[in-house]
């Protein structure tokens, strides 16, 4: 999985490519650790993300927990497979998805 992180002032965009699963989720978790200080808007761009498993969902949940204290978080460009995962897991009720 590739992670592309860009920051403009207090907005951070994280674009993911590949699969976010038990193998790759620790990498994203490590990238996010300490990176969210001062960020008030966090955007996950899933345009090139093929799949997300429970390990990836847990990382999203952790990130959202941080962002709820300091701003907002949203997921954009999720494909149909990932949208189905969000719906079946109930994460579509928790996350802001555009």
């Amino acid at each position: 999985m590739n992670i592309k992180k860009t920051q403009n002032a207090a907005t951070m965009i994280i674009a993911l490519e590949g699969r976010l699963d038990t193998t790759t989720a620790p990498k994203l978790e490590a990238e996010l650790k300490d990176a969210l200080d001062g960020v008030t808007e966090l955007i996950f761009d899933f345009e090139k993300l093929d799949y997300i498993s429970s390990a990836g969902l847990r990382v999203l949940l952790s990130a959202q927990k941080v962002m709820m204290k300091q701003g907002e978080m949203k997921v954009i460009h999720a494909n149909d497979t990932i949208m189905e995962i969000f719906e079946v897991t109930g994460f579509s009720d928790i996350l802001t998805i555009e």
């Binding site: 429970s54 969902l57 847990r58 079946v88 994460f91």
Partner: protein, 288 residues
Amino acid sequence: MSDYLLENKLRLENSDLHRRTKDSAVVLQKMLESFLPRFPDFTDHTILHSMDVLEYSNMLLGEKQIKRLSAAECYVLIMSCYLHDIGMGINQKNYEELSQKIDFGDYFETHSREDTETIIREFHNEYSGLFIRKYAELFDIPCDEMVFAIVQVSRGHRKTDLFDESEYHDVMTPYGIIRTAFLAAIIRLADEIDVGADRNSELLFDSSKARGQSGTEAFGTHESIRRVEVQPDALVLYTKPIAPQYRELIRKLADKIQETLDYCREVASSRSDFCITQKSVQIIEIEE
């Protein structure tokens, strides 16, 4: 003490599999709550019940037998405890899709196809199995053999024939052997004995929220069983009936648990070299 023995053994022997169970549990906590809108008056099938079943599985197995399980078996049993009721929470789209794959037998000769709540409740173990198979990737289940084992053990928490060797056979995986019949017997019994009022929120067992006589009786019976103790040779129900008529209902439930215990003991002894040491179900009425 048998607390968290399965979890600790898995953590020590295979931290990767252990992490997969933890990640799944986070997601399942949300997923299992989704049954509540469809079954507002039904007994607990949330993650709390899953955790109870896991704890009872630890108790029924005991330390000596847990030491003999493979890492694969610990993983499969933990995941099955979490997932066995997932079929209760399926959405309409999955209900329609998965229903096509279930053999309902002659069920619809006497039941309505419109009553989806009852259909799901009656066949929820089959919906659980099909759901796990469909979403195995979501739960990061590492190989097909393990998917098969989790499906079979989860389905096996009720109704399925654990003596059927074509359905319940030993499975070899890169993480060790999985004796599916024995694990299914453990989860079936653990699920059956999660009837104590001490383990479930009052909201979920509040008889005033139950609809119909059978619902009221079921909730009242659960309220009357204050706790369940797994002793080395017996399962003990400590009871305080909320009304005299519940003594008979508790007796009937104890008989049902005894039937399940006898069946699971037979499965364990004839289908594996493990055992279930408990022989009887006892009722002890207490003053609180």
